[in-house]
């Protein structure tokens, strides 16, 4: 992939994150959602996980954040390590970690939406 394309992906994901993070944090405020403590309540979390809209938002946010973050880390690493062989190793290592966290982060969105035991 061309470096200019990677830079464009960096900008596009940045704009996506800017909008979606506002939404994500907004849930934990009294103005837009139940507030910080109530938003962390298991029942509240389950309700959001059962909602396809929230699931979609979280998936896009997870993908955007990881993509943006790992491109940023790659840029910094490329500034420090200049040899092409080391750069290839860095890219490969970052892709492996990226895929691992993408899958690990997506798992709770699809899996484990069981009933709440202590909730009424």
């Amino acid at each position: 992939m061309k470096e200019s394309t990677i830079r464009l992906i960096q900008y596009f994901t940045a704009l996506l994150i800017f909008i979606l993070i506002g939404f994500h944090l907004g849930i934990f405020t009294q103005f837009l959602g139940p507030g910080y403590s109530a938003g962390l309540d298991y029942l509240s979390v389950l309700e959001r996980m059962k909602n396809a809209f929230y699931d979609t938002i979280y998936l896009i946010l997870l993908f955007s954040l990881l993509t943006h973050g790992f491109i940023g880390i790659r840029n910094i690493m490329f500034e420090i390590f200049l040899t092409s062989s080391i750069r290839r190793i860095i890219t490969l290592a970052l892709i492996i970690v990226y895929i691992f966290f993408l899958l690990y982060g997506a798992l709770p969105i699809f899996y484990g939406v069981e009933e709440c035991i202590t909730c009424v």
Partner: protein, 154 residues
Amino acid sequence: MADRKRYRFKDNLWGIWGWYGNLKFNLERYLYLIHRLTGVGLVLFLLLHIIVTSSRMYGEAAWIETESIIQNPLYDLGMLLVIGALIFHGLNGIRLILLEYGLLIGKPTQPIYPYKPTLKRRTPRLLIILMMLIGTVFFLIALYEFLLVWGVLS
């Protein structure tokens, strides 16, 4: 050519210390430095956040256990710091994109005597001030939320 060969693998001798330079920065360079530091910090937080929130898939008991660990004033303070970093990184990033695409700073024209600057030289500095103002408002909203949690406000 000789210099190029000599410094082939030593171009970036300072590494990340080069971000700090000789500490004679202008405002934009300080913003660059903070943007980098917050960026690295936020990636580390993101990975931690994914690990912590994934405890939800192991059931309610695991979630409550995780919640009991993270719900303390020290963690909240760290969270507030992360939110501050996030607000700064986001707003500064938007500023950088606007400047990179030459938006809001006018269009360059062919220089004809008597030369007059066509680019709006004050706009980049105004963007920084605007960024700080918007950032402060966002941060105060987050702070208000945490003051409610800590019981300082009711």
